[in-house]
């Protein structure tokens, strides 16, 4: 077991999130990924009280080479955006491997701390809804798309040939393990789905806003047992952007600067969908442990949690990995859904998450954390001026996490 690094200087605290922006979000918007990206980026820069001339860094996930895997999974890479906006950059980075989607923010904060850039524009664009057309969610690698048999290398060659063609299949097997080992039930996962639906009803941009009952949830068609339709997020088109600035800009932020208090980047064990010995536990655990070791804040200080919900089981395992309850205890923690409701001790995925508001692939959750800390949640605002939010991304083979605060940390 690798020990935790002891930290005197926490570089992430040199950075703040000075601006946020989001394009239209919807199903089959029939817009180009670039136009969505530019909308989000220009909104974030304006929100930060800056112009494009001030932007000297650019960061994104998953970079520009990822679109072959799953149509619409990747938006434009950083080279394409730099060129489209004719930016002059002192630092730039786009890529896939690292502590999940949020790595793009973490990299930006580190670059700011290192003095490589002062104002970094960070974005994530998805256009899966338009790219995958009217046939619904597709399997990976062209599975089922007709024609000859596609070929696949890398780690997916050990999954796709067996009809395990979607993360829905892979995560279903985590859920099955969790059910088997800890007595977790579909009702436990249902509380996560119902919570996002309640919150989505208060978010005008959310996709699925109609109320849902536990009976509706339990009656939904199965995708891959034990995961049903409402355990899976909804592909959308949309782009989310942030500006990460040096903390000495915080007093000039037109709204409220959001501080980056601590990041969690660790990955212990195998970065794999199917090879981790204990699949009841999230790979987020190591990242969460390192994050808590980098802060004096505790779980009791957290006012809202925005935890990745590509699938409900990921969120359940994230609650356990972050230590809000012990591994295996989510069935009690989530019972009745009170703790995670807007009025509860840990308001969760307050904009409706990816399950009900749309699959903005991690960035939507960080956006909502900022909205809440800035007090801009409108009808869904967490009461009592939230000061600390925890965000987690990923949770399949890899994960990353971040504690953010109202005002610089």
């Amino acid at each position: 077991m690798t020990g935790h690094v002891k930290h005197r200087h926490r570089s992430e605290r040199d950075a703040v999130i000075s601006g946020i922006g989001q394009s239209d979000v919807g199903r089959r918007l029939d817009r180009t990924a670039m136009s969505l990206t530019v909308d989000a980026c220009l909104a974030a820069v304006a929100d930060a009280g800056l112009t494009l001339n001030d932007i000297d860094g650019l960061s994104s996930y998953p970079g520009g080479l990822m679109d072959g895997l799953n149509p619409g999974f990747g938006g434009p890479g950083t080279d394409a955006v730099q060129d489209a906006l004719r930016l002059n950059l002192n630092w730039h980075s786009g890529g896939y491997e690292g502590p999940a989607q949020i790595q793009a923010l973490i990299n930006a904060a580190i670059a700011v701390s290192a003095g490589l850039a002062r104002h970094v524009l960070v974005y994530r664009t998805v256009w899966e809804s338009t790219a995958q057309g009217s046939g619904g969610r597709q399997g990976m690698g062209g599975a089922g798309s007709g024609g000859g048999r596609a070929r696949m290398g890398g780690m997916l060659q050990y999954l796709l040939p067996f009809g395990a063609v979607s993360a829905a299949n892979w995560l279903a097997m985590n859920a099955q393990r969790h059910f088997h080992t800890y007595g977790t039930t579909r009702e436990t996962l249902g509380e996560i789905a119902l919570n996002t639906r309640r919150n989505a009803g208060l978010n005008p941009k959310a996709i699925f806003r109609d109320p849902m009952s536990m009976d509706d949830y339990l009656g939904a068609r199965m995708i891959s047992t034990p995961l049903c339709l409402f355990d899976c997020d909804v592909p959308v088109d949309g782009s989310t952007a942030f500006v990460v600035s040096h903390r000495d800009y915080a007093p000039d932020v037109p709204t409220t600067a959001v501080g980056i208090n601590a990041v969690g980047t660790a990955l212990h064990g195998r970065p794999s969908w199917d090879q981790r010995p204990n699949m009841e536990e999230s790979p987020l655990r190591a990242a969460a442990d390192t994050m808590w070791a980098r802060t004096e804040l505790t779980r009791a200080d957290v006012d809202t949690a925005q935890l990745y919900d590509g699938f409900s089981i990921i969120t359940l395992m994230a609650i356990e990995a972050l230590g809000f309850c012990a591994v295996g205890e989510a069935k009690d923690y989530l019972k009745g859904g009170h703790r995670i409701s807007l009025e509860g001790e840990l308001p969760l995925n307050t904009a409706g998450g990816q399950l009900s508001a749309g699959r903005l692939h991690g960035f939507g959750l960080l956006h909502e954390a900022c909205v809440q800390l800035r007090g801009q949640g409108g009808e869904r605002q967490v009461s009592g001026k939230p000061e600390v939010a925890v965000v987690a991304n990923g949770g399949g083979p890899v994960a990353g996490t971040m504690l953010v605060t109202r005002g610089a940390s």
Binding site: G163, S166, Q176, I223, S224, P277
Partner: protein, 139 residues
């Protein structure tokens, strides 16, 4: 046997993975093994994770194991072919801390009867130039 997946994705066979994907032609499941320390390595990478020796060889295993987890897929990724069972099989050569696990399918068991811990054995399905390991219940 007819392939239930009309557009099954197949592995790209190369130097490193050839034995895993083709030894089924001889009715064997071959997994990479370190000839120095005996560790089983999957997927094959050409180096031992335990002693870092590059003296590794595809080695036949018994083909028996237990279901570590499973899912019954209902989503029509491949059109209307009905449900099918994806399994994670922990082969008997592995251990709890170092499982020797492969993703595959369980064939011939009713979905309601599939269970974690079920004992299974390998057989092979030939698709073009690869022999896919498949599993059936040991009754």
């Amino acid at each position: 046997m007819e392939d239930i997946f009309p557009a099954r994705v197949l592995p790209t066979v190369d130097r490193q993975n050839r034995q895993f994907w083709t030894s089924g032609e001889e009715g064997k499941l071959c997994i990479e093994r370190c000839t120095d320390c005996g560790a089983w390595i999957h997927p094959p990478v050409g180096i031992c994770y335990s002693c870092h020796s590059s003296s590794v060889e595809p080695t036949a295993v018994s083909g028996r194991g237990t279901i570590y987890s499973f899912t019954i897929n209902h989503q029509p990724w491949f059109g209307d072919i009905g449900s099918y069972c994806v399994v994670l099989v922990d082969l008997e050569e592995g251990s709890a801390t170092q499982p020797l696990r492969i993703t595959s399918n369980l064939i011939g068991t009713e979905p309601d009867n599939v269970a974690i811990g079920m004992r299974v054995e390998v057989f092979f399905l030939n698709c073009d130039d690869v022999w896919l390991p498949q599993f059936r219940e040991i009754r």
